[in-house]
Amino acid sequence: MSVLPDKEAIKKEARWLAIGFIALSIALIIAFRQSPWSQSLRTAAALYWLFVLPGYALALCSRQGFVERFIIGVSVQTAVIGQASYFAGLWGWHVATHGLVLPVVSIAIGVYLWRKYEAVHHHSRVQ
């Protein structure tokens, strides 16, 4: 079983996420070559903002390898954001702003849980 990633590991993984973003942008630019580059970049940014970054954060404390966390995180975040948006819509909150707010909530929850687990982990290491 992999251990909880520490700050250094997260910094390294952030680099991989950035490389992934560049790769995705290039792939979209090539696959949709009839569209302006800016549109492909915004599409890649939207995919990252809605699914990848919050998914990565949500899976931080799952004690798996980077790619496994990436897969689980993105899948769960897609499920979470879709269902949260449905219920938020039923309660009268217009979907137009869900995409701006809900990822922030997922990231906040992910970071909070990671810090909580990290504190316990750190405490047990010190002891």
Binding site: M1, A23, I26, A27, L28, I30, A31, F32, R33, Q34, S35, Q39, S40, R42, T43, A45, A46, L47, W49, L50, C61, S62, R63, Q64, V67, E68, I71, I72, V74, S75, V76, T78, A79, V80, I81, G82, Q83, S85, Y86, F87, G89, L90, G92, W93, H94, V95, A96, T97, H98, G99, L100, L102
Partner: protein, 541 residues
């Protein structure tokens, strides 16, 4: 990072970059944003319309009034999650909802393929690399139909299902039941048949492990406890939609889901069902051998990757034991879920020659090249002519919300009319042909209201209490002949690629209408729109 990691990274970048290019890229004609939906059948156009409805109205509480005979409180009975994901993505990406649906489906089908790759990889990295050439068949006929005809809920629901399969390889995951419960909830709220397949897989997974004596008591207890907790969480998440599903789909069309009827692919009617032979002979035989080897390998170690492929093959063939349409739908995803069988066969051939990772990587790329060269043809679908689209926009922007518009005949109208945000009707082509035979026009004609009417226009009275406008009110729009002179607008096509004889008839009909109190208000090279200034009065004498 070592050399093997670099090889795999380059391999994956090339594979998935190429798949994005020949798949969603080609289907969307290498352009992200389109004004019209890029789907070739009614399902895709329906979900495109619903996604736009959610993006504009802000939620999916009710169906759009123009799709349910003008009722403004007929509740949404399709699973809601995909429409919300697309609406959100549309607002953040700036793409219109139609294109957003195509992009989201394209991306998540490919991500599902990546998840399957990683699941196979956890069994054997080289087998995983040699399995990917089969992914190309996602974009080969008939498999590509799932995407271009817009089996949207199936594709998204299947993505969540593949993610659930992946979790079965992650027994060590902290609180396994939480992600599993969220994903099961997502299948309920996206495409409910995948929920049933998930529980089928749980039974298959535990049953096979028990049979092969690979299920110690501690592991059995772990899975039973985690699946039970996950189910509880999923029921909480899916509670609201399950109530709607029970009172809608289950009560009204339940017999078609609960009755078992064996159907062969050639008996499937409108849907073009993929068969195993469409993998082409060499690939099919390799997969057949791979399936036999997988069975032998599973006796040693029943890895979730092996069990997933075995299970999804059986699901796809379950039409022969009565699951008819749901079985056929899963076949669209066979290029992902059965890819492992191909990879195993090639692996057992290759491993005799070299142990280096670069060999399966190069061979995987070569085989992708072969499949693309031998079987792939770019396809794109766009059933709406630009001039027709101009007419659709005119109707939306220039007619009152309550206006009723009759389309006399036009190519693909039985599919494309549902994206117009008005109450629209289509003259029954059979009735048109009958009038031609009779040699005269009738006032009382048969029309097809372009509605989502499968659930009798369901509405909600309370949490568990539902009514059905379609049963309670004497709606004359269904089936019964309707007065031709009772419409506010008429749309006449001037040309047709498929049935020019119908266009001749409808143009004659339009000329008769124009001789009465009916005036042209819009026209282009394809269509003319006529306004009825005396609704209900004489229009044919």
């Amino acid at each position: 990072m070592n050399k093997d990691h670099l090889i795999e990274l380059a391999f994956l970048a090339l594979v998935f970059g190429s798949l994005l290019f020949i798949g969603p890229g080609a289907v969307l004609q290498h352009q992200l944003d389109h004004e019209t939906p890029q789907f070739g059948a009614v399902d895709g156009l329906l979900y495109a319309m619903l996604s736009k409805h959610v993006a504009e109205t802000g939620n999916y509480r009710y169906n759009p009034f123009y799709a349910v005979a003008g009722f403004k409180d007929s509740i949404a009975y399709h699973p809601p999650v995909l429409m919300h994901i697309v609406a959100m993505f549309s607002h953040v990406s700036g793409l219109n909802p139609y294109s957003s649906l195509s992009v989201i489906l394209g991306v998540f089908v490919l991500f599902g393929a990546f998840v399957m790759y990683w699941l196979i990889r956890s069994y054997n990295k080289k087998i995983a690399m040699l399995s990917v050439p089969v992914f190309v068949f996602l974009y080969v006929f008939n498999f590509v139909i799932g995407y271009i005809w817009g089996e949207a809920l199936l594709l998204m629901g299947s993505f969540f299902l593949i993610a659930l399969f992946f979790l079965f390889d992650k027994q060590g995951l902290t609180n396994w039941w939480i992600p599993a419960g969220i994903l099961i909830g997502a299948t309920i709220n996206t495409h409910t048949s995948e929920t049933i397949f998930f529980y089928g897989f749980v039974a298959f997974f535990l049953g096979m492990k028990l049979l092969l004596r690979q299920l110690p008591k501690s592991e059995r207890n772990f899975w039973l406890k985690q699946v039970a907790l996950a189910t509880l969480l999923a029921l909480i998440i899916g509670f609201n939609y399950l109530i709607i599903f029970y009172n809608g789909y289950y009560k009204i069309t339940g017999s078609s889901y609960t009755s078992f009827k064996a159907v062969r692919p050639e008996e499937s009617g409108a849907i073009r069902v993929p068969t195993v032979y469409q993998f082409s002979k060499p690939v099919f035989y390799a997969m057949l051998i791979g399936a036999a080897i997988a069975l032998v390998l599973a006796r040693k170690h029943a890895h979730p990757a092996l069990l997933t492929s075995g299970f999804m093959f059986m699901v796809g063939m379950s039409n022969y034991v009565g699951f008819h349409y749901r079985a056929f739908q899963q076949r669209f995803l066979w290029p992902i879920t059965l890819a492992l069988f191909f990879g195993i066969t090639i692996y057992f051939i290759v491993k005799r020659f070299s142990a280096k990772l670069v060999v399966p990587a190069m061979l995987g790329l070569l085989l992708i090249g072969y499949v693309v060269h031998a079987h792939y043809n770019p396809v794109h679908t766009d059933v709406i002519y630009p001039s027709q689209w101009e007419g659709f926009k005119w109707v939306e922007q220039n007619t009152p919300e309550s206006a009723r518009t009759l389309f006399l005949y036009g190519d693909s109208y039985s599919q494309s009319l549902r994206i117009i945000k008005r109450l629209v009707f289509l003259l029954d082509p059979n009735d048109l042909a009958a009038m031609a035979q009779e040699g005269k026009l009738r006032r009382m004609i048969k029309t097809d209201p372009i509605l989502m009417s499968e659930m009798y226009l369901i509405y909600r009275k309370g949490l568990f209490d539902f009514g059905y406008y379609g049963k309670e009110q004497n709606l004359t729009i269904f089936g019964a002949p309707i007065d031709l002179c009772g419409y506010d607008y008429y749309v006449v096509d001037r040309q047709s690629a498929y049935a020019p004889q119908f266009v001749q008839l409808t143009v004659q009909m339009a000329n008769v209408l124009l001789a009465h109190n009916i005036t042209p208000v819009f026209q282009n090279d394809q269509i003319a729109i006529l306004k009825n200034n005396n609704v209900g009065g004489e229009c044919l004498a």
